[in-house]
């Protein structure tokens, strides 16, 4: 799967996991920050996104600093998944 395909897949999964009802994949800029700006997600959403990575991609990250890096944008999430060969 290419990075772009994975990004599109992730967008759909994020929308579902976070119940972002009025948002379509097209609305999400893959490079925009997920937290504070951009989608404006919060700490509970961060936990949900980590669950998404665990359940769908078998990726578990304990280190809070690493988590913050991974969850910077949809693209950084996709890049991590690909780097671990988990797509």
């Amino acid at each position: 799967m290419s990075e772009e395909e994975l990004i599109e897949q992730l967008k759909t999964q994020i929308i579902e996991a976070l119940s972002l009802e009025d948002i379509t994949p097209a609305d999400i800029d893959p490079d925009a920050p997920l937290f504070v700006e951009g989608l404006g997600l919060d700490s509970i959403d961060a936990i949900e996104l980590m669950l998404l990575l665990e359940r769908n991609y078998n990726i578990h990250i304990d280190d809070p600093k690493k988590r913050r890096e991974v969850l910077t944008s949809v693209r950084t999430m996709a890049q991590l998944i690909q780097s671990q060969g988990k797509e």
Binding site: L18, S19, L20, E21, G40, I44, I47, E48, L51, E54
Partner: protein, 354 residues
């Protein structure tokens, strides 16, 4: 201890979210569930916040927002909510996920939402209300407990205005469980035929009703809340009579001073007897009305009744759809609501015209 009902907001199985009082035809359904007629929540609640909210939270926020909107700028000093089942949907979701996922990788959102005070807290967060905030969860006297606390807050001068509400939703699993206890009517009927014949079981409903209770009245005031009493015991009608008479007496009143008795009869012959016994002992001059054929049975149905009573006192008209017995009335000055749950938890709410 008294307070004025200065605005209301209600989501119920009737078309009430638009602020009207039985302006549209009464719901007549054989679905055997009285589901709420609901507004488009996105239009009332910030969609960004809406996304995590389960149905009961949306209903509570929706109704409270409608109430605040109707209050025309009055900001409550306190939020007091009563709910029998609270956020059972989320509680159940999380509970079942524990086994489904073997205690691993559980989503926290249903757990957070399952906290019984989620509705009262979300009202505070959404409206930036940092005052007194509390949730009562005691079955069919949850709403009465909320009213009692509201009256105390106003009497103590701790609040000039209190946002008080009652909320419970219909859930299929709750229905299934209580079906095992023969709570629900087996025969298919229209809700409007709930009191015909003698049958076991009632029809479930749901709703969220909020009231802005104020120390002072204004031009929008619907009615005055005079007193609330609850008691928890299996009892007969003599005991109930005593409770009613004590409540009235401490307010300098007698039964003949009550123009309408609004009763929570729910059509279940296993538990309706006390209502029928009470009716035989009411003054000839009093009206008697029921309400659960319109809202269904749920633990905070007395909040629907309170909305009905407040509107009757304002309009001075008892809609035909409610009436059981109505001798000619020149004026409706006082209404007493009586409701019980399985003859165990009993609530009395006394209202007066403003």
């Amino acid at each position: 201890m008294q307070a004025y009902i200065n605005s209301t907001g209600i989501i119920s199985p009737q078309q009430t979210y638009d602020g009207t009082f039985f302006a549209t035809p009464i719901v007549n359904t054989e679905s055997m569930i009285l589901n709420a007629m609901e507004p488009v929540y996105k239009e009332i609640i910030n969609p960004v916040l809406l996304r995590r909210m389960s149905h009961v939270i949306k209903m509570g926020l929706g109704a409270s927002n409608l109430c605040l909107k109707a209050a025309e700028g009055i900001r409550p000093d306190a939020v007091v909510v009563g709910t029998g089942l609270a956020c059972l949907y989320d509680l159940e979701k999380f509970l079942l996920s524990i086994d489904d996922y073997h205690e691993k990788m559980l989503s926290p959102i249903p757990f957070i939402n399952s906290s019984h005070n989620t509705v009262s807290s979300q009202i505070a967060i959404m409206n930036k209300l940092t005052g007194y905030n509390i949730t009562y969860c005691h079955r069919a006297i949850s709403f009465e407990s909320a009213l009692m606390d509201s009256l105390m807050l106003i009497a103590e001068n701790e609040a000039d205005n209190v946002l008080a509400g009652g909320i419970d939703e219909f859930l299929h699993n709750y229905y299934a469980i209580f079906n095992l206890l023969s709570y629900w009517r087996k025969e298919t009927i229209s809700n409007l035929s709930l009191f015909e014949g003698s049958h076991a079981g009632s029809i479930p409903g749901e709703g969220a009703a909020f009231f802005l209770l104020g120390k002072e009245k204004n031009e929008n005031t619907l009615a005055k809340l005079i007193d609330v009493q609850t008691f928890v015991t299996k009892c007969d009608v003599s005991y109930l009579n005593n409770e009613i008479d004590n409540l009235l007496k401490r307010n300098g009143l007698q039964r003949k001073d009550v123009d309408l008795f609004l009763l929570g009869r729910n059509g279940d012959n296993q538990h309706d007897g006390i209502y029928l016994d009470l009716e035989k002992r009411l003054p000839e001059t009093s009206c008697v009305a029921y309400f659960k054929h319109l809202c269904g049975e749920y633990m905070t149905a007395s909040s629907f009744a309170t909305w009905v009573a407040a509107n009757i006192l304002k309009t001075q008209n008892i809609p035909d759809c409610l009436i059981k017995k109505a001798p000619a009335q020149s004026q409706i000055k006082r209404i007493l609501i009586y409701n019980h749950y399985l003859e165990k938890e009993h609530g009395l709410i006394l209202l007066e015209a403003k």
